[in-house]
Each structure stands twice: as C-alpha cells, then as structure tokens.
C-alpha cells in the first residue's frame, strides 16, 4: 500500500438504470471499485453514498480527492426518452417553423406502415417565426426584427416556457442574429435558458442543427439543477474537488462548459466502456480490439483501432424503436461509435410465425427477469439457456444477489422451445445460445465492413454481466482469434472515466472547393475555434501547454451527398491544398478501397479537437495465485455446442490464477459478476494487470 500522505485521488461514477458504479484511483494508479443501487428520484444521493462507503472502506482522506468525474449515462437520455425535459420554445427564421417536424422526409422501416416518427420536443404553438434572413455566404438579406423576437420570447415566457432554442438559417456563417436574440432574452426574461444553434452545432444542415439545439435547450434546466445538487452533496461530505463531466465524445470537460452543452453528455457511460477497453488492451498489448459489452438487455460493441475508439457523427437518441436506425433524433456531435443490438441475458427466446426460433430483441428486463430468477418470468431467456448449458452455477447467487433456479429455466425452455420444436432440452438451450451469438456476430461484421475494417484481426474485449460467457462463440463466428477479459468486468465502464482525456470539439461550416481554397480565411476560423476550445480545457484545470490540437474537415467529391472526415495538417501553408487532397484520398482508400482523381474535392465543415491526457491512468494488479478452484474439487458439466457434447470442466476463481502461466481449456473462470467460458483446446493466461487472455484454436 502506498503512503496515504502524498497520494491524491480521482473519483469517477457512472449512474446507470439499476446500479451506480463508483471507482477511485490513486495517483500511483491503484484502483478501488464499488457498486450501489441507483435511486431514480434522488440520483445524486446514490453517488454520495457510494463514494462515502468506498472512502471509508479504503480509508481515503477526503481532502486528498482532487477530481470527481461524472459519467451520468442515463440522465440526459432518460429525460428525452421519457419526455421529462423543460417546456421548450424554438425561434426560427420566418417561413421555417416546421423544419423540426418535416425532418428529412424519410421512413425508418420501408415495410412497417404503422411505424411512427419521433415527436418533436417543441410543439407547434411554441415554435415562433422571426423575420430575419442570412444567405449562404453569411450576408444579411433581411435584418433581424428585434421587436418580433422580443414579442416571441415574451409570449413563450407567459406560456410557462423555461428554455428557448434559437435556430436561424445559415447561422453557422453569421451568428450575430442569434446572439442578439440571446441579449434580448437576457434583458426581458433573465431566467430563461437560451441555446443558440451557432453555439451548439454551428454546422450546415438546418434540420440536424435545429434538433440538436432544441434537445440541448430541452434538457438544460434539469442538468443545471443536477450539477448543483451533486456539488452540494459532495460538499456536505467534505469533498471540495474539481468536478468534471464525461462527454459522449470520449473526453471529460469542465462542469461549467457541460452545463451549457448538456447534449454532449448523452451516452457517456458506454463511451467510457470503450475507453476502458482500449486502456486494458494497451496494458495487455493485444493491439486492435472490438469492445463487447453484453448486459441484461443489449450488447454494445465498439471498434478500437490503433488505440482510438471509432467516432461517429450519425448518433441518434430517443429512438421510437430502439434498434431501428432512423427512428430517433439525429445528434450530429462526435460520439464514440457504439453498435447496439437487442441481445442480452434477458433477451427472450420465442418461436415466430415462420416456426423458427428467434432470440431478442424483446427482453424480460430486470423485472420479472429470466425464468430462472424465480420472480415470475415465464418465458425462456439467454440466461436460462446459459444455466441449462452449465455456464452459470445453479448453486450460486448471480452477482451475489439473485438465486438461480435451474428447474424453472428447464421448464421455460421445455415449454416454449424444446417441446414445440420437438427437440431435447439441451438442443433447445444450445440453439438459443448459438442464435444469440450469431446475431451479435453478424451485426458486428456488417458494422466493421461499414467502417472499412477487417474484424478477424481484432481481439474481442468482453465485459458486462454476460459478455465473457458469450465471447468465445461470438469470436468464433467473427473469426477473431483472441479474447480479452479485463479485471472488474462488472464495473468496467466506470474505469473508463478515469482514463478519459480532457477534450472538446468545435466545428464551423465554410463551404469551399479544396483546390484554390483560401487557407488564410480558414486559418482565421481555426483561430476562433482554437481560442474557444483552449478556454474550455483551461476551465477544466488544464495548463495551456498541455493542450494538443487536431484539425480535420468534412470533405467529399463535388456532387456527392455526404462527407468523409479527413485529417488536416496542424499548420496551413502553400502545400496545404495538396496535403488535404492527399489526406482525403488516403481516408477514402481506407474506407472504400479506391479513390478517384478525376473529380474535384470540396470541404463543408472544419473541425478542431483539443485534448489533454488524463493524469496517472489507473492500473489493477493481480496477485499471483495458485490456480486453485473456486470450489475445491468442483467440476461442472458444461455443454459446448461446437463440440456437440458435455465436458466436465474445472471452475476456477479469477483471483486464484497464476500470472503468465498458460493453461489449456476447457475451463470456467469466475469473477464477481461474470463467468468466462474457455472451450476444449483453447489456451488461457492471466497477466499481472488482472487481464485474462484466451487464444482460440
């Protein structure tokens, strides 16, 4: 143990739907983790309690906690999904009050004529038109009618609207009209929250920009309140640390910045999971990974290449149908690219109209849960199949809490799968297992192709309650040769909070051909972006010299409909045109395996990312064990579908494994909250950081 006097601490927490995970790392890197039940009505309470328990357990001096990182996974998302945001108004250019409802005019399911589109967060009466018009070059065509703007805000305030979004056409080129509205609002309705499209997403395409601005406005009052409550709660237990906030782009940022841009906190928990996976992969030296987080309802995957999680600009929130692309609101901010499908421990197995077996996306949820929980769940689930196959211990309590009932699992699978299909219980259970794994593997394959990657060269980094149990079958179907199971796989996402860099992104649209572009003008855009991003990082406690900047631009061939984000050099000079075009060709080759030289290239949007690395990344340490069994002399009968037979398999405790000594499967390796399945002939080793590595044959 390190000296308590000189050590400082960083604390992170992730508020999930069921559990709040807490994690503390010391400046020497050592990690401690904890878990407590979330309290939906008093979400900061669970955080304070979880932290108190952890610091008392580990005797951490409260005044040595220097930084607290909030990873409020579900807070922002749930506000939008449940429609519990503030009453929100929208000011638009005259003639365009309906853009937020007209959307992109597409359907998300070509065959389902009963499918509904998402309902805009601002209803028609609260969308106010203001006479003003800016053209594509940022020239004022019609001056802002200040009287009309004032009247609109007064009417909204009188209606009880608490937060206003302002989104004018081409405001990314000329923000002055929007900024003037903000001043007017400050004069006449000082308590009104105002979000400007030129701040939230100063990027071309009015629908996406307006939606992002409206969503930001919608959640802002509540998030401000949440952050105040959190500070109060921490203060009350004597913690005066800097509060930073995890964002969906995989970086943390200051509390004050986050408060004005709460939309950037969407889905920050899964983003942290991908960062954590990237971190352990680096420690284990496995190279590129596919993070694979399988929980109760869904499986989430992210490709991490060269240590960087894939970023997408195509995220959607509050989908009408959770797994249907296009059924939600687009959030065109850079977000860690998570592929999510409806495959988890609670996914229900059923026979559909075709007489074939389907697994998911319907889930038994936490209540009633799988049949084997004995809480009234009737339908068979993935967890029930795992129990019947021997992957789960029928005598153990899941996560130390839920007793498992093998007889109920067998009855459910028998009644709903085995009997109707005329097969044995084992055939049915193995069928559920194979189908859910095939579903996960096939969607990951298509995702990798979309990103221009060859999935077979990736290591599968498995975590979450069900991830390590299904990893080998998924890896086999993907053609991956190695599986990595990190320590603390049950609270793994929260560890990502502590490895996240401090980071922010800024964008500005300026449409130009790359050939003959005015690089001086673009440089002056970057001067603005550099200043604003640096300020945000300094606010989060970063020294100016520690900030790194990365430039990129959204470019395309002239005539194309969408863009490819292309890295740019840090400084612009005479060679920049050639460098930018070459960079576009390179990235085009990577994604599409060819490029053209006969068509000109244009750029629409210029991006800047400012980052500073996280201090002292956390490390887990494995004590050398003796490979002893979890329960002495216990062998469990386990079915391996690929072999088509049962094996008597030793059950090992993860904490008992010897470091760097390779063993041969079959084996079951149990850690708190999950079990890793190693098949016959596969080899596994444990490293000093607590990682478990499995090589598939």
């Amino acid at each position: 143990m390190s000296s308590r006097n000189t050590t400082s601490y960083r604390f992170g927490f992730d508020i999930g739907g069921t559990f709040t995970d807490v994690v503390v790392s010391a400046s020497d890197g050592e990690v401690h983790v904890g878990k407590c039940l979330s309290q939906p009505d008093a979400i900061t309470q669970a955080v304070v309690e979880g932290l108190t328990t952890l610091i008392e357990q580990e005797s951490i001096p409260r005044d040595k906690i220097q930084e607290v990182i909030s990873g409020a996974t579900t807070v922002v998302t749930n506000l939008i999904i449940e429609g519990k945001g503030a009453p929100t108004g929208l000011l638009t250019t005259e003639g365009f009050p309906d853009l937020i409802e007209i959307a992109r005019e597409m359907r998300y399911d070509i065959y389902d004529i009963t499918a509904r589109l998402p309902v805009p967060v601002v209803p028609r009466p609260w969308r106010k038109e203001v006479p003003e018009r800016i053209d594509k070059d940022g020239v004022v065509i019609t001056a802002l009618d200040e009287k009309a703007a004032k009247q609109a805000i007064e009417e909204l305030a009188a209606d009880g609207v608490k937060s206003v979004a302002v989104s004018f056409l081409h405001a990314y080129r000329y923000p002055a009209h929007e900024q003037r509205v903000m001043e007017i609002a400050a004069e006449i309705a000082p308590d009104m929250f105002v979000s400007l499209s030129s701040d939230v997403l100063p990027e071309i395409r009015e629908y996406e920009r307006t939606v992002a601005t409206a969503l930001n406005a919608y959640v802002r009052p509540y998030i401000g309140h949440y952050l105040e409550e959190l500070e109060k709660g921490l203060g009350a237990i004597g913690i005066k640390a800097t509060l930073n906030i995890m964002q969906s782009n995989g970086g943390v940022i200051s509390r004050d910045y986050a408060e004005t841009m709460p939309l950037r906190m969407l889905e920050s928990g899964p983003a942290a999971g991908a960062l954590a996976a990237s971190h352990v992969a680096d420690l284990a030296g496995t190279g590129d990974i596919l993070s694979f987080d399988m929980g109760g309802t869904t499986a989430k995957s992210c490709l991490v290449s060269n240590g960087r999680p894939e970023i997408t600009l195509e995220f959607e929130t509050a989908r009408v149908q959770r797994f249907k692309k296009g059924s939600g609101f687009p959030v065109k901010l850079p977000i860690i690219d998570m592929m999510e499908i409806g495959a988890g421990g609670g996914s229900i197995a059923r026979i559909d109209d075709t007489g074939l077996l389907k697994v998911g996306p319907e889930s038994s949820g936490a209540v009633p849960g799988p049949a084997c929980y004995g809480q009234g769940g009737e339908q068979p689930t993935v967890t029930d199949a795992a129990l019947v196959l021997g992957y789960l211990d029928p005598n153990a309590r899941l996560g130390g809490q839920v007793a498992l009932h093998l007889d109920l699992a067998e009855a459910a699978i028998g009644k709903y799968v085995a009997e109707p299909l005329g097969m044995t219980l084992i055939e049915a259970a193995s069928g559920i297992y194979r189908i859910v794994c095939e579903n996960m593997a096939s969607s990951a394959k298509v995702h990798a192709v979309e990103k221009g990657k060859d999935i077979r060269h990736y290591t599968l980094a498995a975590f979450g309650g069900a991830g390590p149990m299904h990893a080998r079958e998924v890896a086999r179907r993907l053609g991956c040769r190695q599986i990595l199971v990190p320590p603390n796989a049950g609270v793994f996402s929260a560890i990502g909070l502590l490895v996240a860099p401090v980071m922010t992104d800024a964008v500005r649209t300026f449409y130009t051909r790359v050939e003959g572009a005015d690089w001086q003008e673009i440089d002056s855009i970057y001067d603005d972006l550099t200043e604003s991003t640096a300020q945000a990082l300094i606010q989060a406690g970063i020294a100016p010299d520690d900030i790194e900047f990365e430039r990129s631009a959204d470019m395309r061939y002239i005539g194309q409909g969408f863009e490819v984000t292309t890295p740019l050099p840090a400084r612009f000079d005479d060679a920049t045109t050639d460098a930018a075009v070459q960079s576009f060709y390179d990235i085009y080759d990577e994604l599409f395996s060819h490029h053209l030289t006969t068509v000109d290239v244009e750029a629409l949007t210029w991006r800047l990312r400012a980052t500073a690395p996280a201090p002292s990344p956390p490390i887990s340490r494995r004590m050398n064990g003796t490979d002893s069994r979890a329960v002495p002399d216990q062998l469990r009968r386990v079915y391996f579908p690929d072999a088509g037979e049962f094996h008597d398999v030793p059950v090992l405790a993860d904490s008992g494994l010897n470091i760097d000594s390779e063993k041969e499967g079959p084996a079951l390796i149990e850690q708190l909250g999950c079990t890793t399945v190693v098949g016959p002939g596969e080899r596994f080793t444990a490293d000093k950081h607590g990682n478990l590595l499995v090589s598939l044959s």
């Binding site: 399911d109 589109l117 395409r205 075709t354 449409y511 053209l596």
Partner: protein, 527 residues
C-alpha cells in the same frame, strides 16, 4: 411442412437464414460505401441479392427500396437466355441496363454472377444500383422514346472467367457526363459480388455443405407458410379499384382487379390506360415490384424477401398499357406511375383488410431539376431536389406529414440546396389541413417557395403528380388535398413541364396530403 424441414433443424435453419441475409447485407454495405451515386447512398436505391442455383430469390439486402422486390429473378432469367447456365464459368459477370430486363429505367445497372463450389454451380449473386449518370437527356419525364434517355447496354459479359472486357468500360466512359464516378459505381457492384461469393463459400465450408438447395427450399417453405397464415385474413374473392393520376396531356387511369384464391394472389391491370408518349411508362418488372410491395406491408412486413413470398403472386399487365409499355417507350420517370400502384392495391383490399391498409399517399414525390447556363461567362449549374407529400392514414395512426412513400428518398436540406444552386427558399412549411380528414387523418403535405437569385433566367423541370387528381381516402376517409405549382402567385398550367424563372421570380410548389381512413364523424364522437 415440406420434407426439407425434417432434415434441417429449425435452429440450424434460423442460423443459416440469418447468415445468408447477413452475407447480402454485408455486400450491400460494401457497395453503398464504395458507390459514388448519391441516390445509392442517401436513398438506398440499390439491391444485392443471392439466388439459388435455379434462379429463385433466396436472400435480399434489407435496406433496398421497394422497386427491387422480386425483380432480380426476372433479370437473371433474361441473362441466362443469352448465356445459358451450362456455358458459365467461375469469374463471369453479366450486365445490362435494359429497363425491361432490369428495374425499369436506364440508370439502374444490373449485374449477375454464378457462384461455384468446386465445379458445381451453387448460387447466383445479382446487384443493381442507380448509376451517377447514364448520359442522354437528364432525368425528366419529357423524353418520347428510350433513345433519348441515355446509354443502353444489352446483355453482355463484363467479366469472362475473371478477365474484364475493357471495351464496355470505355463505352460507358464515352457516353456519360461523370465517367470517373460511373466507373467507380460499376466497380462498387463488382466489389459487392465478390463479397457475396467469398462469404457464401466460407459459410458452406464452415458448415460442411456442398449445396444450398435444401436450405433454400426450407426457407421458401417456412416463408410461404407464414404468409399464407396472414393471407387467410383476406376472404377468397375478387376485389377491384381504380385510381387516377394527372398524367401528361390527359389523366391516367390505373385499374387493378385482385383475385385471392387457393392461397394465391392475382393482380390484373387490364383496363388501365395505354402507354403514353412521355417517359412515365413502366416496364413489367417495375410494375411487378410495386404491386407486390403493398402486400408485403400488409401480410409480411417483418419477413425477409424471398421466393416463398414472391411465388404467391401472378401479376398481369397487358402489353402496351402504362404499366407494361412496349420498347422503345420512354420510361425515365416511371416512378410517377409505379409509386401510385400501392394506392390502387390498398383501396381494392380495404374492405377485406380494413385494419391493415393505408389510404393513398401524397405520392409520388416531386422532383425539381434546376438548371442554368450563362453562355457569355460559361457559368452553369444543375441541381435536383426532392420533396415529399403526406402519407395516408392507417388504422390506429394518423398519416405522417411530408414523408416519402412508397420509395424512401430524403429531401435536400435548404442550406445545402442554397449552396449548390443560386436559389433562396422563402418558405418551407407543412401544408396544414392538406391531409384528408377521417377517423384517422392523412398526413399533411408541404408548401415551398423558391426564389431565383441568379443573374440570368434559369429553368426548372417539374416532375409532379396529384395536382388535379387527389390521393384518395379509404373506408369513408376523405381525400387528401391536391398539390399545385405557381409562379409569382399565378398557377402554372403544365405541371410536368419546364418553367423559366427570371431573377427574383418565385416558384411555389405545394405537395398533396395523404388520404384519411374511416368516417371523420367517428373521430369527433370519440373526442
């Protein structure tokens, strides 16, 4: 259940079936990403399918627009007439863009390749995609024969045993406006074909299969059984309806007589208008696809497309009618008719299946082609933009406003269009009240106003419908409102023609609303 199902367990069949779809989806994703065509990327105007060794549809990529449902087996059959199966070898790729062989207009290029496992032909792969350009006049309804509409490639081999015929590529390059992009599009289709070949063979190796015919039969049988279960909800008998569209010089009538009997569906278009002089004529394949589509929505929205569904249909469209025009009719804007077929099918079936139908929509979508050329400076532009009307109501759901149906084509954002063409939107609003009233209301259309900011006169080619003939309500629901076209506030008479805009002129276009469903009074009583 068929015999094959006894040999393949329902669990294995589920996995095999998912894998085959995953293979074509993976190939579709690869094609979409390597294609240069905006229509392919933004509107999924492509398909990638696997057919069994007999040429029946086995698996189709999930996101394709409805215009490709079931067209590829017809295309392949035509290809095999020219190059019989027993003459094919590994590495052959056959292609054509003939509208009667493919999917209805020259822009769509169809390619097919045999897949061999050892010496045995086990499957075919077919890809279709809308090319970036095909030469000829640009996209419009105003051609009077096919020859105006662009380059026509007959059934030829692009690859012979793995060797590319560069003559074909050179002919493409010489005949299209964007040779680089078009060759890129062709390569994208080849990429997709190779993905399917590789992945299918990997799948067969993984499971130790030397043919996939028995899997295909099992898939068709379970699909057919599932559809037949739903089909029983339609009482056997004959149903008919007729819808009218604006047409060109005179209105167009589409008449459908639907017979449901012995587990089969026959749709007969006898009595529909004869083919017309301009490019709105349909080839049979396109008619077939858009006829089957509404049944898919009603009977099997969640089931993958395959022969088990397609084989239940007999579509009869007399030659020489608007829904089965004869070569060399112009067909370039065939979507203006094709997109209306769903309306006549839904209306005919409405009484039999009131809970499943959708009232007619404010469809087809409107296309505006903006063009300008300044002879003195050489400055020129051409830009296409899409607009959608309201969707018809279904039981339990008011129609959505301004959404694409039955195709799925997104709009061009206001800010993007203003960057690409010298125009300025003055307005883009929901056309309130344009959806037909009903127990469930039709979705509203939209109204846009576009001002020319160019220093010279520009032209706008209009591809509109339903400015005179409204989308109909069903089961007592009211019709949607018609659209209109105005210039500086004055109605434009020829709504499929070309209008000229001088600097400062304003073009106003209203899109029709969708039809309502059910008597409106019921709704009022409920409220």
């Amino acid at each position: 259940m068929a015999k094959a199902n006894k040999q393949i367990s329902p669990i294995d069949l589920e996995i095999y079936w998912n894998r085959l779809i995953s293979v074509v989806d993976e190939a579709g994703a690869a094609m979409k990403r390597t294609s240069f065509s905006t229509v392919v990327r933004e509107s999924n105007d492509y398909t990638c399918v696997m057919l069994d060794a007999d040429g029946a549809l086995l698996a189709q990529s999930s996101w394709s627009v409805p215009g490709f449902i079931g067209t590829t087996p017809h295309s392949l059959a035509h290809f095999l007439d020219v190059y019989p199966k027993d003459t094919l070898s590994d590495g052959d790729i056959i292609l054509s863009n003939n509208p009667w062989i493919g999917s209805g207009h020259l822009n769509d290029l169809t390619m097919a390749a045999p897949i061999f496992h050892g010496d045995r032909l086990v499957a075919f792969v077919v890809t279709v995609a809308h090319l970036s350009d095909i030469g000829g006049r640009q996209w419009s309804a105003s051609s009077t024969e096919l020859f105006e509409e662009g380059l026509h490639i007959p059934v030829l081999k692009l690859y012979e045993a793995g060797v590319r015929n560069d003559v074909i590529i050179k002919i493409f390059e010489a005949n299209v406006r964007l040779p680089g992009q078009v060759v890129g599009d062709i390569e994208a289709q080849v990429v997709a074909i190779n993905v399917v070949k590789r992945r299918l063979l990997e799948f067969m190796t993984e499971y130790g299969l030397d043919e996939i015919g028995s899997i295909a039969t099992a898939i068709y049988n379970v699909t057919e059984d599932a559809v037949l279960k739903q089909l029983r909800a339609i009482p056997e008998g004959t149903y008919s309806a007729e819808v009218e569209g604006d047409g060109w010089e005179e209105s167009i009538r589409i008449r459908a007589t639907i017979t449901v009997k012995d587990g089969r569906i026959r749709v007969d278009y006898s009595g529909s208008s004869p083919q017309v002089r301009y490019g709105v004529n349909e080839s049979f394949n396109h008619t077939h696809a858009y006829t089957v589509y509404p049944f898919k929505c009603m009977l099997a929205p969640g089931l993958p497309n395959n022969d088990g569904f397609i084989r239940l249909f007999d579509v009869v469209a007399p030659e020489g009618t608007i829904v089965n025009a004869k070569f060399p009719a112009a067909v370039g804007a065939r979507q203006l008719i094709g997109h209306m077929l769903q309306g006549v099918v839904f209306e005919a079936i409405a009484d039999a299946l009131p809970d499943k139908v959708q009232a007619d929509s404010g469809t087809p979508l409107t296309v505006l082609v903006l063009k300008g050329l300044d002879m003195e400076s050489g400055e020129a532009f051409q830009q296409i933009t899409f607009l959608n009307g309201g969707i018809g109501a279904t039981k339990g759901r008011h129609g959505e406003p301004c959404s694409s149906f039955p195709a799925n084509i997104s709009n061009t954002p206001v800010e993007i269009l203003e960057n690409l063409a010298p125009v300025r939107y003055r307005q883009k609003i929901i056309h309130e009240g344009s959806g037909g009233d009903g127990e469930y209301r039709g979705g509203d259309g939209q109204v846009i106003q576009l001002e020319s900011c160019w220093h010279k006169p520009m032209t706008v080619a209009l591809l509109t419908e339903r400015t005179r003939k409204a989308p109909r309500g069903v089961l007592g629901g009211h019709d949607g409102a018609c659209g209109f076209v105005r210039k500086n506030g004055q109605p434009v008479a020829e709504t499929k023609g070309v209008v000229e805009l001088k600097p400062g002129d304003v073009l106003e276009v209203a899109l029709p609303g969708g039809g309502g469903l059910g008597e409106p009074s019921t709704a009022q009583a409920a409220e």
